[in-house]
C-alpha cells in the first residue's frame, strides 16, 4: 500500500518525489510510535483495570535505562528527519542556473505572469515540461502566497521585496495554483492553473503571445525606461564607467561597498538601489543618486531589473 496516494496529490515535479519520500518516512515512524504509545496505554488500561476495590500499588516511578532509551531514540529519529528535510529544502531554495525566469505578481485577487520574452498571462501560468522554472514573486498590495500542491511548492509574495520559488514539471497537464496566504474577500477565488506543455509548444505560445500593453518584451520595455527615466545619464550599458556603475555584467556580480562589506547584485539589491540608493553604495562612487520611489511603478522596476539582468558580459 502506498500511503502517499491516499494523502498526497499526484507528484508532478522533480522535487515532489523527494518530499513525498520523507512524508512516507515520518508517516510510518509516527504510526509505529503511535501504536507503541497508545497500544501500550490500551494494554495497561485493560491489564490493570480496577477489578477489586482500592488498594496500594507498587512504587514504580523511575527507571533510568528506560528513560534514557525513550529519550535517545526519538532524539535520533528527529535529527534524521531534520537533516533529511533540510537537504530537500535547500534544493527547493536554490534554482538551477539555467532556469527560465518568470515574474509572478499577486494582487487582489489574481496572479499575473510575465515571461522574459515579453509574453504575459493572467490566471494561467504556462511552463515547459522538463525545464526548471524560477518564479520571481512579488505583490502589489497585501501578502499572497504562490502554491502548487502537485509540485509541493509554496512561497509568499510580498509587497516590498522579491521572493523566489522554482520547480521543474515532469508531466504535461493542468495543475491547481492557489493563493495560500489569506488576502481578503476574494482569497478563495484567487485561483489559477499551471499549464505544463511540451517545450516546443511553450515556445510557440511565447511567440504568439505578446500582450504587454506596450507591445514589447519586459527587458525591451526596461531598455526604453533606461533612456526615458534617465538612468542612462549616469549608468552606461557598455561597461564604461560613469557617475554610477555600468549595467553591463552588473547582475550577479559581487560589489565592494563603501563601508567595506560586499553585496551580490540580485533582484532585491537592484530594487533597493532604485528605491533607496544611499543604502548600499558601491565603493568608488559618490552617494548622489536620487530615489526613484514614487517615480517608477512596480512594473517599471520589474522591467528595469529584467533589462539589467539581460545585459550579460559575453
Amino acid at each position: 500500500m502506498n500511503t502517499n496516494d491516499i494523502f498526497l496529490p499526484a507528484a508532478k515535479s522533480t522535487i515532489a518525489s523527494e518530499v513525498d519520500a520523507l512524508f512516507s518516512f515520518v508517516f510510518i515512524a509516527s504510526i509505529l510510535f503511535f501504536v507503541l504509545v497508545i497500544g501500550g496505554a490500551l494494554y495497561f488500561i485493560i491489564r490493570y483495570r480496577r477489578r477489586k476495590g482500592d488498594g496500594y500499588t507498587p512504587d514504580y516511578s523511575h527507571n533510568t535505562k528506560l528513560e534514557v532509551v525513550w529519550t535517545v531514540i526519538p532524539t535520533i529519529l528527529v535529527f534524521v528527519i531534520f537533516f533529511w528535510s533540510f537537504k530537500t529544502y535547500l534544493k527547493m531554495q536554490v534554482a538551477p542556473k539555467d532556469a527560465i525566469q518568470i515574474k509572478a505578481t499577486g494582487q487582489k485577487w489574481f496572479w499575473q505572469f510575465d515571461y522574459p520574452e515579453g509574453a504575459s498571462s493572467t490566471g494561467e501560468l504556462i511552463v515547459p515540461r522538463g525545464k526548471p522554472v524560477q518564479v520571481l514573486l512579488s505583490s502589489r498590495d497585501v501578502i499572497h502566497s504562490f502554491y502548487v500542491p502537485n509540485f509541493r511548492v509554496k512561497m509568499d509574495a510580498l509587497p516590498n521585496r522579491y521572493t523566489m520559488a522554482w520547480f521543474e514539471a515532469t508531466e504535461t497537464g493542468e495543475y491547481d495554483l492557489f493563493c495560500a496566504e489569506y488576502c481578503g474577500t476574494g482569497h478563495s477565488k484567487m485561483l489559477a492553473k499551471v499549464r505544463v506543455v511540451e517545450p516546443e509548444e511553450y515556445q510557440r505560445w511565447l511567440q504568439s503571445n505578446n500582450s504587454l500593453p506596450e507591445d514589447m518584451a519586459m527587458d525591451q520595455y526596461g531598455a526604453q525606461l533606461y533612456k526615458t527615466k534617465a538612468c542612462v545619464t549616469c549608468h552606461t550599458n557598455d561597461g564604461a564607467p560613469g557617475t554610477g556603475p555600468s549595467f553591463l555584467g552588473l547582475f550577479g556580480r559581487t560589489e565592494n561597498l563603501q563601508d567595506g562589506s560586499t553585496v551580490t547584485v540580485d533582484e532585491n539589491y537592484l530594487r533597493e538601489s532604485i528605491l533607496n540608493p544611499q543604502a548600499k553604495v558601491v565603493h568608488g562612487f559618490q552617494p548622489v543618486m536620487p530615489t526613484y520611489t514614487g517615480i517608477l511603478k512596480d512594473k517599471e522596476i520589474d522591467a528595469l531589473v529584467m533589462y539589467i539582468k539581460s545585459l550579460k558580459k559575453e
Binding site: I45, D54, T75
Partner: protein, 560 residues
C-alpha cells in the same frame, strides 16, 4: 476535628449577595467569575465554528457571504485564543485549585487577582465592541499589511487583545509569587503537585512573552491610527517584521495553552490509576525546559515567508528540540498506568482522549517542523487540523478532564456520570471525524481560510462538518449535566476520587479560607504505594492495624 470542618460554612454561601461576588477577594470566587465569563465566550466562539462548518458543507453559499465568513473564522480564532484558551485553565482552574493544592489561604495578591478579572472584562468589552462595529476579517493573526489596510474594526479588537494581555500578566505574577511564598509547611518544591509545576512554567511565559504581544499590537494600532510606517510597506515598513513580533509571543502562547493542560493530565492520571507518577522530576523539569525553548522557535510559522534559509534551518532544529520533552511526558503518563489500579470515571476518559489526540497532534507537529514537508503543508488544512489536535484535542480535553475532576470540589455536588461518559464518547468521535478529515484535506492541498473550494474537496469537507455537529451535541449535553449538578447534583464528601493532593483534604465546597488549620505536608502528592483514602481519611500501608482492617472491609464491599 472532622466535625469542625464539616460544620463550617462554604465559600459559596457566605457572604451573600451579588456585591459580595463582584468585589470578592477569594481566589475560588474569582475562579468562578472567570468561569462564567470565559464560558460565555467559549459558547460564542463555538457557535461561530458551527456556522463556519455549515457554510463549508458545499463550495457555494449556504448561510453567509464571503465577507461574513471571513469575519466568522477570524472571530472564532480570536475569541477562542484570547478569550477562552489562554485564560481558560490558569484563570479558572488555576485560580481555584492552585492555592488549595499548596495549602494556602489564597493567592499572594488577592486584589491583583480581582483586578485581573476586571481587566479581562474590559478587554472582552473591546472585543464585543469590535464585533458590533464592523468585526474583523484579518484572521486571528492580524497579519500586516492586510490588517493595516482593511476597513474592518481591527483597532478595537487588537486593543481588546492588548488589554487582555495585562490580565494574563497579572495572573502570571500572582502564581509565581504564590508558589514561591505561600506553600504550606512541609511542601517542598518536589512535593508540589505537577499541576503547580506546570502552572509555574506557564506563569513564567505569561509574564515574559505577553509584553511583546502588547508592544506588537500597540504598534499595529499606531500604524492604523497615526500612519507610522513600521509594518506597512506603503509607509516604508516591513510586513514580515510583524510576523516575527507576533509569533515571538504567539508561539510561547501555545505553551501557555498546553502546559497547564499537561499539569491536569499528570494529576488525573495518577488519581485514577492509583499510582505514583512515573518520572516526577522529568515531568517537572520538562515543563520548564519547554517554557524556555518555546521562546526560540517562533520562526517555524514563517518557513515560506521569505525569511533566510539559515533562520529557517535554526528554527526547524529548535522546533524538533522542543518536541522531545513533550514526547517524554507522553511516555511518562503511559508508564504511570503500569501496574496501577485503573478506573474509568469521566475525568479519566477525557485524560485518555487527551493521550490519544495529543499524540496525533505531536506527530503531525513533527511533520510541520520538517522544512521540506512544511513548504507543502503550510497554510493548508493540515495546519488547521494539527493545531486543533493540540489545542482542542490537547488543551480542551485536559481542561474538561480538570473540570470534571474538580467539579465536585467546586460545588460540593456530583454531576450525572452516565451523561458525562456519553458526552466524552461523542466528543471523541465528533472530534476525530471533524479534524482527522482535515489532515487529509491539507495533505491534498486544500488551503485554509477559504470561503469556497474546488469540487474535489467537497466530500471531505462535508464529512468534517458532520463531525463538528456531533461535537456541538456533546457540548450541549455537557452544559446541561454540569449546570444541573450545581443545583441538583448528589452531595459529595471531601474526597470523592480518593486523591492525595491537599485540595481534597478540605470540605467540598471548601470554607472561605480553604482550610480550618494550615495543613502540614508530610506525604508526597502521589504516594499511592503507601497511602489510600478510605472514607475521606488516609490509611497508611505501614500504619496501625485498624487502618488495614478498614481497607479490607472496603475491599470486600466493593467486590459485592
Amino acid at each position: 476535628m472532622t466535625q469542625a470542618i464539616s460544620d463550617s460554612v462554604s465559600y459559596l454561601d457566605e457572604p451573600k449577595g451579588i456585591k459580595s461576588w463582584l468585589f470578592t477577594l477569594d481566589h475560588k470566587r474569582i475562579g468562578i467569575l472567570y468561569m462564567w465569563s470565559i464560558m460565555v465566550f467559549f459558547f460564542i466562539g463555538g457557535m461561530m465554528a458551527l456556522i463556519v462548518r455549515t457554510e463549508l458543507l458545499a463550495p457555494e453559499q449556504i448561510l453567509v457571504s464571503a465577507d461574513a465568513y471571513n469575519q466568522l473564522f477570524t472571530l472564532h480564532g480570536a475569541i477562542m485564543i484570547f478569550l477562552f484558551i489562554i485564560p481558560g485553565i490558569p484563570a479558572i482552574l488555576g485560580n481555584y485549585v492552585l492555592p488549595l493544592m499548596i495549602g494556602a489561604k489564597d493567592v499572594a495578591f488577592p486584589r491583583l487577582n480581582l483586578a485581573s478579572w476586571y481587566v479581562y472584562i474590559i478587554g472582552s468589552l473591546f472585543a464585543i465592541y469590535s464585533l458590533f462595529s464592523g468585526a474583523v476579517d484579518t484572521g486571528w493573526t492580524f497579519y500586516t499589511p492586510y490588517s493595516t489596510q482593511t476597513s474592518t474594526s481591527v483597532t478595537a479588537m487588537t486593543l481588546g487583545a492588548f488589554i487582555l494581555g495585562f490580565s494574563s500578566i497579572f495572573t502570571g505574577i500572582n502564581f509565581i509569587v504564590t508558589i514561591h511564598k505561600l506553600r504550606a509547611p512541609g511542601m517542598t518544591w518536589f512535593k508540589m503537585p505537577l499541576f503547580v509545576w506546570a502552572s509555574y512554567a506557564t506563569a513564567v511565559i505569561q509574564v515574559l512573552a505577553t509584553p511583546v504581544l502588547g508592544i506588537t499590537l500597540l504598534l499595529l494600532i499606531f500604524e492604523r491610527v497615526f500612519g507610522i510606517g513600521i509594518f506597512d510597506p506603503a509607509l516604508g515598513g516591513d510586513p514580515v517584521l510583524y510576523q516575527h513580533f507576533f509569533w515571538f509571543y504567539s508561539h510561547p502562547a501555545v505553551y501557555i495553552m498546553i502546559l497547564p493542560g499537561m499539569g491536569i493530565i499528570s494529576e488525573v492520571i495518577t488519581v485514577f490509576s492509583r499510582k505514583k507518577i512515573f518520572g516526577y522530576t522529568a515531568i517537572a523539569y520538562s515543563s520548564l525546559g519547554i517554557a524556555l525553548v518555546s521562546f526560540l522557535v517562533w520562526g517555524h510559522h514563517m518557513f515560506t515567508s521569505g525569511q533566510s534559509e539559515l533562520a529557517a534551518m535554526i528554527f526547524s532544529f529548535l522546533t524538533f528540540l522542543v518536541g522531545i520533552p513533550s514526547g517524554i511526558k507522553m511516555f511518562n503518563w503511559v508508564a504511570t498506568m503500569y501496574k496501577g489500579s485503573i478506573s474509568f470515571e469521566s475525568p479519566m476518559l477525557y485524560t485518555l482522549s487527551f493521550l490519544f489526540l495529543f499524540a496525533i497532534g505531536g506527530f503531525t507537529g513533527i511533520m510541520l517542523g520538517a522544512l521540506s514537508l512544511d513548504v507543502h503543508l503550510h497554510d493548508t488544512y493540515f495546519v488547521v487540523a494539527h493545531f486543533h489536535y493540540v489545542m482542542m484535542g490537547g488543551t480542551v480535553m485536559a481542561f474538561l478532564a480538570g473540570v470534571h475532576y474538580w467539579w465536585p470540589k467546586i460545588w460540593g455536588r456530583m454531576y450525572n456520570e452516565k451523561l458525562a461518559r456519553i458526552s466524552a464518547a461523542l466528543l471523541f468521535i465528533g472530534f476525530n471525524m471533524t479534524f482527522f478529515t482535515q489532515f487529509i484535506l491539507g495533505t491534498k492541498g486544500m488551503p485554509r481560510r477559504y470561503y469556497s473550494y474546488l469540487d474535489q474537496y467537497q466530500p471531505l469537507h462535508a464529512f468534517s462538518s458532520y463531525g463538528s455537529f456531533i461535537i456541538g451535541i456533546a457540548f450541549f449535553i455537557m452544559g446541561y449535566y454540569l449546570i444541573h449538578a450545581i443545583f441538583k447534583g448528589q452531595r459529595v464528601g471531601k474526597n470523592p476520587w480518593g486523591a492525595l493532593t491537599l485540595e481534597w483534604t478540605t470540605t467540598s465546597p471548601p470554607p472561605p479560607h480553604n482550610f480550618e488549620q494550615t495543613p502540614v505536608v508530610t506525604d508526597g502528592p502521589y504516594d499511592y504505594d503507601r497511602i489510600m483514602i478510605v472514607g475521606d481519611e488516609r490509611v497508611y500501608k505501614d500504619g496501625p492495624e485498624e487502618g488495614k482492617e478498614i481497607a479490607k472491609e472496603v475491599d470486600s464491599e466493593s467486590k459485592k
